[in-house]
């Protein structure tokens, strides 16, 4: 039993045409037992930036608090919102600070930069970043999610199309994983705003 698989999670983020989407399951489990079906794993940093945290639930909640704190400080000092690249770098540093006693989370960052270009990044638990322009995944069924994304993804999807693709990729992946699923949530971020929807999936 790995610590990263104690609570269970599945998070996918994808780029579209001038938009990004981030989707996560909503299960909170303690190993095999499901404790809650409305656990939040994706957090809004600002109107153009979301972060998804997969891993040990207590660290997900602690890191959410730490990230909000750091983002608030940045916005007070700089008098402007944090760009996705900067936030991703900050998160990477926060994780590496604990190199020999890490936070057990593997985050996913999804946002739109000042020029309106979509941004994605993913990190391991000690902050090693990966930047892609198509999709990033994290969680207990990452293998499933990679397969689904590779198959269903196409570049430059419109927001509604992106929503469909993200939802199907997530639902099919978590249906083959005991530790994730039990509901899902999808956020689509465009220059005009964020549209959040709750997914109706198999509750098992």
């Amino acid at each position: 039993m790995s610590i990263l698989e104690y609570n269970g999670a599945a998070i996918i983020a994808m780029t579209g045409k001038n938009c990004v989407g981030i989707a996560a399951d909503t299960r909170l489990g303690i190993q095999a037992q499901t404790v809650a079906t409305d656990f939040k794993k994706v957090f809004k940093v600002n109107d153009k930036l979301f972060v998804g945290l997969a891993g040990l639930a207590t660290d997900v909640q602690t890191l959410d608090q730490i990230l909000r704190f750091r983002q608030n400080l940045y916005e007070l000092r700089e008098e402007r919102p944090m760009t996705p690249k900067v936030f991703s770098n900050l998160l990477s540093n926060i994780l590496y600070e604990k190199r020999f006693g890490p936070w057990f989370v593997e985050p996913v960052v999804a946002g739109i930069d000042e020029a309106g270009k979509p941004f994605l990044s993913e990190m391991d638990l000690i902050g090693a970043p990966v930047y892609t322009d198509d999709f990033v995944v994290s969680g207990t069924c990452s293998g499933n999610m990679y397969g689904m994304c590779e198959t269903l993804y196409k570049p430059d999807m419109e927001p509604d199309d992106l929503f469909e693709t993200l939802s199907q990729a997530l639902l099919s992946s978590v249906d083959r994983d005991a530790l994730s699923g039990w509901g899902g949530v999808v956020h689509i971020i465009t220059a005009d705003g964020v549209k959040s929807r709750v997914l109706k999936g198999r509750m098992d």
Binding site: N7, V35, D38, L56
Partner: protein, 205 residues
């Protein structure tokens, strides 16, 4: 081996806990109160070794009382108390963890004198927290979560919620290997925390 369960209803929260204090094959005491009162309108049921439970509970209790003294009688909401509790568990995790699994329930009055809301927070010893309608800590979760899943619904009254609790206690008595003859049930509503029923008087020493 502790069994703690909590359930919210319209206007309050009920927490029930077994009263057995035991280690290995020996029962030290049969009238332990595992639900501590944090403030006038909140309580916390803890499952875990007696040392951690007593230390953690008293620390949270006194910290919250100190807050009230230091801040001119300002009462923290249940959500704030729960978040404080979670923060302490998370801080201690990488230093010297408290091995307590917690159910924190409280009542918050509404400003315009309407019937307020009861809220229940489930926390494990690692510090992960979730607001729930009902929750169970301990082996009892294997028996009782499905009963709650089936019988709990929005807008229950106190009597109905107590019925579900009784149903759970009955199920444990029938199917749980460890005999837990005494259960203490506490209720928090607009009038504060009160003991509804106990199997054995905790004051009886």
């Amino acid at each position: 081996m502790d069994s703690i369960f909590g359930v919210t209803y319209n206007g309050g929260v009920i927490i029930a806990a077994d009263q057995t204090n035991a280690r290995s094959i020996l029962i030290y005491q049969n009238n332990l109160d595992k639900i501590s009162e944090l403030s006038s309108h909140s309580m916390m049921g803890c499952a875990g070794p007696n040392a951690d439970f007593v230390n953690f509970t008293q620390y949270i209790q006194k910290s919250l009382q100190l807050y009230e003294f230091s801040n001119d009688g300002l009462k923290l909401s249940t959500k704030a108390q729960a978040n404080f509790c979670r923060g302490e568990l998370a801080k201690a995790l990488r230093k010297g963890p408290y091995q307590v699994n917690v159910l924190l329930g409280g009542y918050d009055a509404k400003k315009d004198g309407e019937v307020g809301d009861g809220s229940l927070y489930l926390m494990d010893y690692l510090g992960s927290m979730q607001k729930v309608n009902f929750g169970v800590q301990g082996y009892a979760s294997n028996f009782c979560l499905s009963i709650f899943d089936r019988e709990w619904k929005e807008g229950l009254n106190e009597a109905q919620a107590l019925e579900i609790v009784d149903h759970c206690i009955g199920e444990l008595a029938k199917r749980f290997l460890i005999a837990q003859p005494n259960f203490l049930i506490k209720v928090v509503d607009k009038d504060g925390v009160r003991v509804h029923k106990f199997g054995s008087d905790p004051e009886d020493n």
